[in-house]
């Protein structure tokens, strides 16, 4: 073996990091459909679930997606995101189910929190929907780089009949063998984007020319300051009288409930500018934009144990 021939043959069969991640995610999605009876894909209209849906459609093309989408609607979603969700569902002929936090509040089955945050309230409607529909595999767009307790999440994450995650019960995952066997009543959360970073997702969306909701790009918006973040003024309940509203050019790095998803000041109006901004940023995605993770050192771990993603 000479150095020259090695280089030549290696070059012929190279894959970029995004091609490698794409092949891995499609493998995970196909394994899930091969091993489970009733998978469902959690779709929020956020960039991670958009990338995941795109991968899922590619995994089964030219046939249609062999499972439905589920959206847990907090009732305080950005209208632009709901419009995007409905357009995507119509364009690709997808099946969508919606679990509504507002319905639970209206019935009195859930109570609004004093701080007005609705992300923590999503868990009950999600688990009820999983149980009522008999979903045995639930695709989520979670990534291990998002937060410390997610760094140890499995690709196939086993949940008990209460939807709870026990770090000590998680199965070792070796090679690319994903073990989906579970007892009746249990389900498995599946994370095809486990090994992706925020930058990977954006580069993939750019490379595949996938549309995203307009709030990911810089726009003018009425915002106010709370807990060090710019929150959108709107019907969901902000601002309080002591919180002055300003008009600023912002964009969103994550899309969640309006009560706890902060905007970042940004002039990034195109996907290339967004990628440039993320490459240069010195704050994590969740650190910059999520009030609900700021509460304690173990905030995410605690919510995962309760059945949140």
């Amino acid at each position: 073996m000479t150095a020259t021939t090695t280089v030549t043959t290696e070059q012929a069969y190279l894959l970029s990091h995004l091609e490698t991640l794409e092949a891995e995610a499609v493998h995970i999605i196909r394994e899930t459909v091969g091993q489970f009876e009733r998978p469902v894909l959690l779709f929020s209209g956020g960039k991670d679930s958009i990338a995941m849906l795109h991968l899922a459609r590619k995994a089964f093309a030219p046939a249609r997606l062999p499972f439905p989408l589920l959206h847990v609607d907090t009732g305080h979603n950005f209208p632009e995101v709901i419009a995007y969700r409905d357009a995507v569902v119509a364009e690709h002929g997808l099946r969508l189910q919606v679990a509504s936090v507002q319905d639970y509040l209206d019935r009195g089955d859930l109570v609004e929190r004093p701080d007005g945050m609705r992300n923590p309230l999503q868990t009950t409607p999600l688990l009820d929907s999983i149980e009522a529909n008999g979903f045995d595999a639930v695709f989520g767009g979670g990534r291990r780089d998002e937060e410390r307790s997610r760094a140890k999440e499995r690709v196939f994450s086993l949940r008990d009949e209460f939807g709870a995650w026990d770090p000590r019960r998680q199965r070792p995952e070796l090679w690319n063998l994903y073990n989906g066997r579970h007892a009746p009543g249990e389900h498995v959360r599946v994370f095809p984007l486990s090994n992706w970073t925020e930058l990977d997702v954006w580069q993939y969306i750019a490379g595949e020319r996938i549309a995203v909701p307009p709030i990911y790009y810089a726009h003018e918006r009425e915002v106010f300051r709370r807990r060090g973040m710019w929150l959108a003024a709107g019907e969901w309940g902000g601002p309080r009288p002591d919180e002055p509203v300003e008009r600023r050019t912002v964009r969103y790095r994550t899309v969640g409930d309006m009560s706890c998803t902060g905007a970042v000041e940004s002039s990034a109006a195109t996907i290339d500018e967004v990628i440039e901004e993320i490459s240069a940023t010195r704050l994590t995605e969740r650190g910059a934009t999520r009030a609900d993770d700021h509460m304690t050192d173990s905030a995410m771990e605690d919510r995962k144990r309760e059945g949140y993603f």
Partner: protein
């Protein structure tokens, strides 16, 4: 400019050899740590009464670990340089977590083993090297850490590096490099040391940036486990990820276990028709003939097919607290197939430091590695692990509750039709 490639690597170290600090340093000095993460670590360090940021806190994920100050599970980290993206499987150092190193090493292109320069090669180092050899991780890098505590001594470094090189040769590890480092001061982690002029080799980061990413697919016969059959408009497509080799349109392949031979009519690489596809691409393929193919089948090069076997000789690492015993009924999860099997024998294996079971034992305890023979209820299309990390590996699971029990690599098999390659 070529697109960045993806390197998967694992770290392994003993207790208190400074692995968390060195990994923290790797992330910090490569500017992969962002302001809010660093502030959180600085605050936590101050609460613990320390003056400077404890970089180890960057990588300790779960609350139990932070409270106990140890790492108890495989944690995955992500960072990048302009040329390469890295996935790091950060595995714990304690002997009772051997299974975690096995997990991390199973997908790694490279393993970074740490030793404390004051202690040199210890029992746990031998175990880590044995696991890297067993799982055929192609590249092993030894970081001789805490060089600041041995006065940056070249003699200390050379003696440890030489001893490890001999160990590597004994175990059959292909490529070994040794690097003198200090995670605390950052010497030779990302930036070159100004304390060790005598060392002219690469830093840890340079080693990671220039390491080989996976093997050359053209050297191995093609394998593609079938995951799913896509039916559309009267046509059938076999969907799967090519695990080894190169698949070419027009190629004659065999489908196992049926043994039917067919021709690949067309290859689709996620929406693009391709004349050729290779590992690890996910594809769907259509046959010229009307073959009956299902999930669990294996598409393989007709010229060099795997062997159909019901008797597997494996080396298995036990992963679960409940021991594996002779005569246990298990499920063998192999590629996209799962079949019932029975454990017919458990024997100690040599060359594994002290990781193997006791001679005469009929059971395998958690974290032990031994020879395990299996008789499957149906023939599996298997390669040896030395030929394929996919078709040469399997998991043993509990038929009752699905628990993953053991990870097994196939080291011998009998031919279901002509028992010639029988376990010897």
């Amino acid at each position: 400019m070529p697109l960045p490639s993806l390197l998967r690597f694992a770290t392994a170290g003993s207790v208190d050899d400074g692995k968390s600090t060195l990994v923290g340093r790797l992330l910090y000095d490569s500017k992969s740590i962002l302001t809010d993460q660093l502030e959180a670590v600085e605050q936590a360090s101050r609460r613990k009464g320390r003056d400077t940021a404890d970089l180890a806190l960057l990588t300790d994920g779960l609350r139990a670990e932070r409270e106990q100050g140890i790492t108890i599970d495989v944690a995955y980290r992500y960072f990048a340089t302009p040329n390469r993206r890295f996935i790091l499987a950060d595995t714990p150092g304690h002997v009772q977590y051997t299974r975690n190193m096995v997990t991390g090493a199973s997908t790694a292109d490279l393993v970074l083993i740490l030793v404390d320069a004051r202690k040199g090669i210890v029992a746990q180092t031998r175990r880590h090297a044995a696991i890297a050899a067993l799982l055929r991780v192609p590249q092993v890098v030894l970081a001789i850490n805490k060089m600041d505590l041995v006065d940056w001594s070249e003699d200390v470094f050379v003696a440890i590096a030489r001893e490890f090189a001999e160990l590597g040769t004994d175990l059959g590890i292909g490529f070994v490099a040794a690097i003198p480092t200090s995670g605390l001061t950052g010497d030779n982690v990302v930036t070159s040391s100004c304390h060790m002029d005598w060392y002219e080799g690469m830093t840890v980061m340079e080693q990671l940036e220039t390491a080989q990413v996976s093997g050359d697919p053209s050297r191995t016969p093609v394998r593609m486990p079938v995951q799913y059959i896509i039916e559309d408009d009267g046509l059938s497509y076999c969907a799967g990820q090519i695990s080894d080799g190169v698949l070419t349109a027009g190629e004659r392949v065999v489908v196992l276990p049926s043994g039917k031979v067919g021709t690949i009519e067309a290859i689709d690489v996620l929406g693009e028709e391709a004349a050729v596809a290779w590992a690890p691409q996910s594809v769907s393929v259509r046959f010229s003939e009307n073959l009956d193919v299902a999930r669990g089948d294996l598409i393989a090069a007709a010229s060099e097919p795997p062997v159909l076997s019901t008797h597997l000789r494996t080396t298995a690492c036990h992963l679960h607290e409940r021991p594996l015993k002779t005569d246990d009924q298990v499920l063998v999860k192999h590629a996209t197939q799962t079949v019932p099997a029975v454990v017919t024998d458990i024997v100690p294996r040599t060359g594994l430091a002290d990781l193997t079971c006791q001679p005469g034992s009929t059971e395998l305890a958690v974290n032990e590695i031994a020879g395990v023979t299996l008789r499957t209820s149906e023939p599996l299309a298997v390669d040896l692990y030395s030929q394929s990390r996919t078709t040469g590996a399997c998991l043993l699971t509990d038929p009752a509750d699905g628990t993953t029990l053991s990870a097994a690599i196939i080291v011998g098999r009998s031919d279901a039709h002509a028992p010639s390659e029988a376990a010897s």
